[in-house]
Amino acid sequence: MRVMIIGCGRVGSVLANRLDEAGHEVVVLDRNQQAFRRLSEKFSGERIVGNGLIEDFLRPTLQEKTDILFAMTDKDNINLMIAQRVKLNFPLGEVIAVVHDSILAGLYKELGVETVCPTDLVIKDLLQMLQIIKESA
């Protein structure tokens, strides 16, 4: 698979490393060069320094057939704008926006934008742990 990841933060960098290790073709974009230090030494994918909100930085990558794009900067609104623009302008397999605000994530899902909400995932995990503790008590 060919994957584009926008935002090389704590989560984005690990995702990039994992997908790269698994043999996928990975392109990572971040506006800050320093962010790429989070990538593993073995990372063999492409690194682009640029602003994900500006189409010029995405076009060279997305012109080629890309299976999935993850918009995962630390700003919900940036991720949502990137995802919507990419969906409109490029024929991609899948576009996923990381949205920390749970309600916002749900709202955009209704609008047809695929979202992943870290807040919801953490809460789900914590509640599950609580359930396990309760059951073993």
Binding site: E55, D76, N77, Q84, L88, D101, L104, L107, E110, L111
Partner: protein
């Protein structure tokens, strides 16, 4: 009307002030992120300004977005302005949203994603005030500043206008006047020396009161 303005920067501040003070009788709420700015402006706006990140559901809810007639997103970040308008439409089911577009290349995207009107600063002022002014006059005063000492005026050019087919650099503008925007169809052009006027252009100019007559004659 109840109007929420997100962002108390230059555009948001002046827009809110205009809506509150020029006898439109609108109820206005400004949402601003920067506490210092809120403190400063609350002397003037009193209860009509609140601190908060207006690009979030919570802040918009607190501001009463569910009963707003119009929400105007004027922040300096296009991604925030876009999401504000979409939240307002989807979550609060309000019909009218206006977004300031900082990067003109985002304008098409905004329209494609359901923002009712996306405008640059100049276009915004024009659009809001346009409804209030009488048409017909060749030079329409849009906005009066400094107690009427300065005005923003709009001129609809025709084939017979003196400046049509001329470049700005070849014109001698009356002292105390300057062209600030040329509206050509859907496009807004910030004019410079090489800009050439065409029939059907709408020209926005900033002019001192004493220079108005001279500008009128020149056009």
């Amino acid at each position: 009307m109840y109007i929420i303005v997100v962002g108390a920067g230059k555009v948001g501040y002046h827009l809110a002030r205009l809506l509150m003070t020029q006898g439109h009788g609108h109820e206005v709420m400004v949402i601003e992120k920067d506490r210092a700015k809120v403190d400063l402006l609350s002397m003037e706006f009193h209860d009509a300004i609140m601190e908060g990140d207006g690009s979030t559901i919570e802040a918009l809810k607190e501001a009463g977005a569910n009963r707003a007639d119009v929400v105007v997103a004027t922040t300096g970040n296009d991604e925030d302005n876009l999401v504000i308008c979409q939240i307002v439409k989807l979550m609060f089911l309000r019909p009218r949203t206006i977004a300031r577009v900082n990067n003109p290349r985002n304008e098409e995207l905004f329209t494609g994603l359901g923002v009712d009107a996306s405008v640059s600063g100049t276009k915004l002022i024009n659009a809001i005030i346009h409804e209030q002014v009488r048409a017909g006059d060749m030079m329409i005063p849009l906005l009066s500043l400094k107690a009427g000492d300065i005005e923003i005026v709009e001129v609809q050019l025709t084939r017979s206008s003196h400046i049509v087919r001329k470049k700005i650099k070849d014109l001698t503008l009356p002292t105390g006047s300057i062209f600030i925007a040329v509206i050509r169809g859907e496009e807004v052009i910030i004019p410079y020396g090489e800009t050439e006027f065409q029939p059907e252009d709408k020209v926005l100019a900033l002019v001192k009161r004493e220079s108005e007559q001279a500008l009128r004659e020149m056009l």
